[in-house]
């Protein structure tokens, strides 16, 4: 029976409400921004009241938090971790280095636009963002989930060839497994 709020079915509303209140973040500190994640999880800013907590392996995590710049060596491992995560999955780009390269715009080893290699749902800007800004980013992601618009994972599956072409341009020795789901 369609509901009059954005024509979502009642099942979708319950499903999205359950998903948005339990976001498990993969424990991977890819760059400088990883130093502001432990203060967000301690008692002063307390991210756990929103349902956000850390998780050890990609198979059990929902959110990949790319904290800052990515060297090409790390990009290969991030792609592998992203493809091992299971649906529904979301990516948050943290810091201004994921938006346009930041202060490393003329470095020969870091990538400049994260959106061309893996799909990003929410950006948090700053260098570095305060813990309150991190929590605001997660609340933004929760809003997108409730409306049904956080669909980075389906975008990746549909445009896999385009993403692969961009990734192979930067990573020269491609010895990764095939993505088949």
């Amino acid at each position: 029976m369609p509901n009059d709020k954005n024509s979502q079915k009642i099942v979708d509303i319950i499903k999205n409400a359950a998903r948005k209140h339990s976001l498990f973040v993969l424990a991977y500190g890819t760059g400088c921004g990883a130093i502001e994640i432990p203060p967000t999880m301690t008692s002063r800013y307390d991210a756990e009241r929103f349902g956000i907590r850390g998780m050890a392996t990609p198979r059990q995590a929902d959110v990949l938090l790319v904290t800052g710049y990515l060297a090409t060596k790390t990009l290969k491992r991030v792609i592998r971790a992203y493809e091992q995560m299971q649906d529904p999955k979301y990516v948050i780009g943290f810091g201004s280095c994921t938006i346009n390269g930041g202060m490393y715009w003329d470095s020969y080893n870091t990538i400049k636009l994260l959106d061309k290699y893996i799909p990003v749902d929410v950006y948090i800007n700053g260098c570095m963002p305060r813990p309150e800004a991190v929590i605001t980013g997660f609340i933004e992601l929760q809003k997108l989930i409730a409306e049904g618009k956080a669909d980075g994972a389906t975008k990746y599956k549909e445009n896999l060839d385009w993403y692969r072409a961009n990734q192979k341009k930067v990573i020269k020795n491609w010895n990764m497994p095939d993505y088949n789901w």
Binding site: P39, S43, T74, A81, M103, S107
Partner: protein, 368 residues
């Protein structure tokens, strides 16, 4: 009986137990590590090439991001090297404020270390306490410089601005609070039999070879050598402060933890002395037009004592308005690669992360 073959394990870049983003390739037989090899390069940004394209004042703004947990020794070393090549004098009040920043940064780094060392042993209450207490020191930094983690406050010629009103009182209140908390950390961590039994006898460094292998900082003091850059090669105003350098004889993880705990208490005393004795005066010696500021040709090597060991900077100038070569050497360069590969032979798998935390390996300063 069949002989066991060695398995290769990748303690890889994505792991909740390692300090940062690096990989250790372990060869294990059963539960014991037979050979270890460190792989770095996951955080390389090419800082030294970036600095060749920016002029002297623009380079000072990016230098603090080289070492993520403790950015202040970087700014201090860069400024001191530039001042030494140019021959620029720094006002006295600026030296006292710089010392205050270095000691507060040392306290913040030790609190983060308390969290990391215990988190890898399974005592998860300690990170929640100490990383939460570190926020009080980050509040002080934010009031003084405007940023919690990256300050960009110490520049060639002095510091950027003077202390605000009432800042000294807030610093003393925070020091009283941390001293009370240190007693609670003692009860939880240092008088805990489980931690003592886990930490004694693990990760032993041979004292006869420690200096030759290039060990610096708390691991060297835990091996019995009274060696600290603040008394060997004095800089700033450490010769006017009253402090002692602790040493231990055990040279294992437990001895290093005791050395750091004693230094924590000494740093609190030093901050109180600095607030007490600080003189008045200007806080910076103005530099000329930054677009045209040139430094005469020459080179300098300066050192500072950070919470993990000796931090060195080698700066070369060729007379133009951009640096020729800035080469950064962090303490983890030796501790994280050759020393770690040596100590891990014969260790148990569950102690690998424990030993890494006690040496203070921090990958961003190995590969900049």
């Amino acid at each position: 009986m069949m002989r066991e073959k060695a398995t290769t394990l990748y303690l890889g870049p994505q792991h909740p137990g390692i300090t940062g983003n690096m990989m250790i390739k372990l060869k294990v037989e059963g539960d014991t590590v037979v050979k270890a090899q460190t792989h770095v390069g996951y955080l390389h940004r090419g800082f030294e090439k970036l600095m060749e394209r920016r002029n002297w004042l623009q380079s000072f703004t990016i230098v603090c991001r080289i070492c993520v947990p403790e950015p202040d020794p970087n700014e201090l070393n860069y400024s001191r090297a530039v001042e030494e090549i140019e021959g620029r004098e720094v006002p006295e009040r600026a030296e006292w404020i710089r010392t205050l920043m270095m000691e507060l940064s040392r306290l913040a780094s030790y609190l983060l270390w308390f969290g990391g060392q215990n988190g890898s042993a399974g005592l998860y209450t300690m990170p929640q306490w100490s990383v939460g207490d570190r926020d009080y020191i980050l509040d002080l930094f934010e009031e003084l410089t405007g940023g919690r983690v990256y300050h960009m406050y110490i520049w060639p010629g002095g510091v950027r601005r003077d202390l605000p009103n009432g800042f000294a009182d807030r610093v003393l209140q925070t020091m009283d609070y941390l001293e009370k908390r240190l007693k609670q950390y003692d009860q939880l961590m240092f008088e805990n039999t489980i931690f003592q039994r886990r930490a004694q006898g693990i990760g032993w460094i041979d004292p006869a070879k420690a200096v030759e292998w290039g060990v610096v900082g708390p691991p060297l003091r835990a091996a019995g050598f009274k060696s600290d850059v603040r008394i060997d090669d004095p800089y700033l105003i450490y010769d006017q402060l009253d402090f002692e350098v602790p040493t231990q004889q055990g040279s294992d993880v437990w001895a290093r933890a005791l050395v750091r705990r004693t230094e924590f208490q000494q740093s609190i005393n030093m901050v109180r002395q600095i607030i007490d004795k600080m003189p008045g005066g200007p806080v910076y010696n103005k530099i000329p037009n930054p677009m045209k500021w040139t430094i005469p040709a020459g080179d300098a090597y300066v050192k500072a004592e950070s919470a993990r060991g000796e931090f060195g900077y080698y700066v070369v100038s060729d007379g133009s308005n951009k640096p020729r070569r800035v080469h950064v050497k962090g303490p983890a360069y030796v501790h994280g690669v050759t020393l770690l590969e040596n100590i891990l032979e014969g260790a148990n798998i569950s102690d690998v992360s424990f030993i890494m935390n006690s040496l203070g390996t921090c990958p961003p300063e190995i590969e900049r």
